[in-house]
């Protein structure tokens, strides 16, 4: 774990740049991580997904998989990929300042 300066705030991140302490997160941090990850601007649809991921993580201790995200957030999987290219669940977690989703075993 290393400390990193994002949007003028010091945050703890893992080797892949996921925040390890969700309390250190704020919206400016989200916007900067998004830019660095190839999402130039966060729209309302992005925020809907990011907040959904965060709320689920804070309430249950695990972030939803892409499939439950598609079912529960009301944003279809195709659109999730358009909003967060490559891996929507991972990228939304990273931008939302929560640990990398562990996936299933």
């Amino acid at each position: 774990m290393t400390a990193l300066l994002i949007a003028e705030t010091s945050v703890d991140v893992d080797a892949e740049g996921f925040l390890t302490n969700p309390d250190q997160w704020n919206e400016q941090i989200a916007e900067e991580i998004a830019r660095e990850s190839g999402v130039p601007a966060l729209t309302d649809r992005h925020w809907l997904v990011i907040r959904y991921m965060r709320d689920r993580y804070l309430a249950t201790g695990t972030a939803p998989s892409i499939r439950s995200l598609g079912k529960e957030s009301g944003v279809p999987i195709k659109e999730l990929y358009a909003l967060f290219p490559k891996g929507p669940a991972k990228l939304a977690a990273k931008i939302g300042g929560i640990p990398k989703p562990r996936g299933c075993i």
Binding site: T62, S68, L80, Y81, P85, G87, C104, I105
Partner: protein
């Protein structure tokens, strides 16, 4: 008063649990009911061998009711819904079963229709799954007449039953084409939604090495969203295409449909949120779950179901006697991985410890972990006997306890995620 115990699902977990509880409780202490939609108990690990002609479907299916001890009531019907507030189950045939204690053991359901195009034209002609008896049978015929081309083996997304089975299929396909002397005319591709060959780092590296050795191309983070079964094209959500002459896929999985119809019972995918160490559901204290039906963060495997069964039976007894629950289930899983040419690998892990090399069940073995051996292959074949004669009747399997053994494992790393 006589307790009413209702068990939904007469597969691996339901059958084993019913038999154990029947042995524990006298007839005047508890009535035990098992519900399943049909009377065909499939030994599912055997499905892997059917496409290669190494097993026949009728060799791996037995009547369900015959696996249950006498004194257990078997109901052959679809479960319609569960009213957790009223402690009642409604069956499709109209029967209402009231319960003091409910066990959910209805496993996982395949949902090929959730992937666009998969069950459309070309399904069971060019695109197959070996996860059902019919699918495995049809694939066997297709493989028999296959004489070269691109074969894509695909895992659409987790969770699936037996997450190593698609890899095993790829390894066995390599051996099968070698034996038929057409391997040089077959291109084998393994496309997975995971970011490696498997979910856990040490085993994932090992298995990726084996894929390379066998000249099977590994395509990772491939989230298949669409299948063209006539044109032979598998497309991912992020815009990549894989052409195939033959697709062998593992469809998406969800929980049983009635779980979704029963308010307060399941999650978005129809799995039942369950306490990971006691197996009591979060829905109601008198509802327990085991096996593939739960949302637990461990593999959906028969071995897991078996290890969970120990804690589950103990906790059902404790719950009915009003005692505190045992919270010792540690996520233990144990899987043989067939690698072809009469060899297999063995992995053993739990919630905390990933699969590591070493020996099982102790430092002197006899089975090597994470390494190919003939002994592991024999272990896998032997397991069918163990399944019908020891696991389902609920007898102890010598040397294999529910908690994961640490002795014999070589810890290479300090991290466990």
């Amino acid at each position: 008063m006589k307790k009413q115990i209702v068990i939904l699902g007469g597969g691996t977990g339901g059958t084993m649990t019913a038999n154990r509880l029947r042995r524990h409780f006298d007839a005047d202490e508890a009535e035990i009911h098992v519900v399943d939609r049909d009377d065909r108990h499939v030994y599912q690990p055997g499905l892997l061998f059917v496409p290669f002609g190494l097993a026949q479907v009728d060799e791996i299916v037995r009547p369900r009711h015959r696996q249950l001890r006498s004194g257990i009531d078997f109901h052959e019907s679809e479960v319609e819904s569960v009213w957790i507030e009223r402690d009642e189950v409604l069956l499709e045939d109209g029967t209402v079963l009231p319960y003091d204690l409910l066990v959910i053991a209805t496993g996982a359901r395949l949902q090929p229709e959730e992937t666009e195009g998969l069950t459309g034209p070309g399904w069971n002609e060019r695109a197959f799954t070996f996860y059902t008896p019919d699918g495995a049978d049809l694939l066997q015929r297709a493989l028999e007449s296959f004489d070269g081309g691109r074969v894509v083996v695909n895992l659409i997304d987790m969770p699936i039953k037996c997450p190593v089975a698609p890899l095993e299929f790829a390894f066995l396909a390599d051996a099968y084409f070698h034996e038929r002397k057409i391997r040089n005319r077959v291109e084998l591709i393994f496309a997975t939604s995971l970011d490696g060959a498997f979910t856990k780092p040490v085993a994932s590296k090992h298995l990726a090495g084996l894929l390379t050795e066998k000249d099977i191309e590994l395509v990772t983070e491939f989230n298949a969203g669409e299948v063209d079964g006539v044109g032979g094209k598998l497309s991912s959500y992020d815009g990549r295409d894989l052409d195939f002459d033959l697709l062998v896929t593992v469809p998406l999985h969800g929980g049983a449909a009635y779980v979704e119809r029963s308010p307060g019972l399941g999650d978005a995918l129809g799995f039942v949120p369950t306490d990971k160490s006691t197996l009591q559901t979060l829905a109601q204290p008198n509802v327990f779950a085991l096996g593939d039906a739960t949302d637990l963060p461990t593999s959906k495997a028969g071995s897991v179901t078996h290890f969970e069964g120990d804690v589950l039976t103990e906790n059902i007894v404790r719950f009915l006697e009003g005692r505190e629950l045992d919270s010792s289930y540690d996520g233990h899983a144990n899987c043989f991985i067939e690698t072809g040419f009469h060899k297999a690998l063995l992995i053993d892990f739990n919630y905390e410890t990933e699969p590591l090399p070493g020996r099982f069940p102790s430092a002197v073995g006899p089975l090597p972990l994470l390494r190919e051996s003939r002994l592991n292959h024999l272990g896998k074949l032997m397991f069918q006997w163990v399944y019908w004669h020891m696991l389902l009747p609920g007898r102890e399997i010598p040397g294999i306890g529910p908690a994961m053994p640490q002795a014999g494992k070589k810890h290479l790393t300090t991290t466990t995620t």
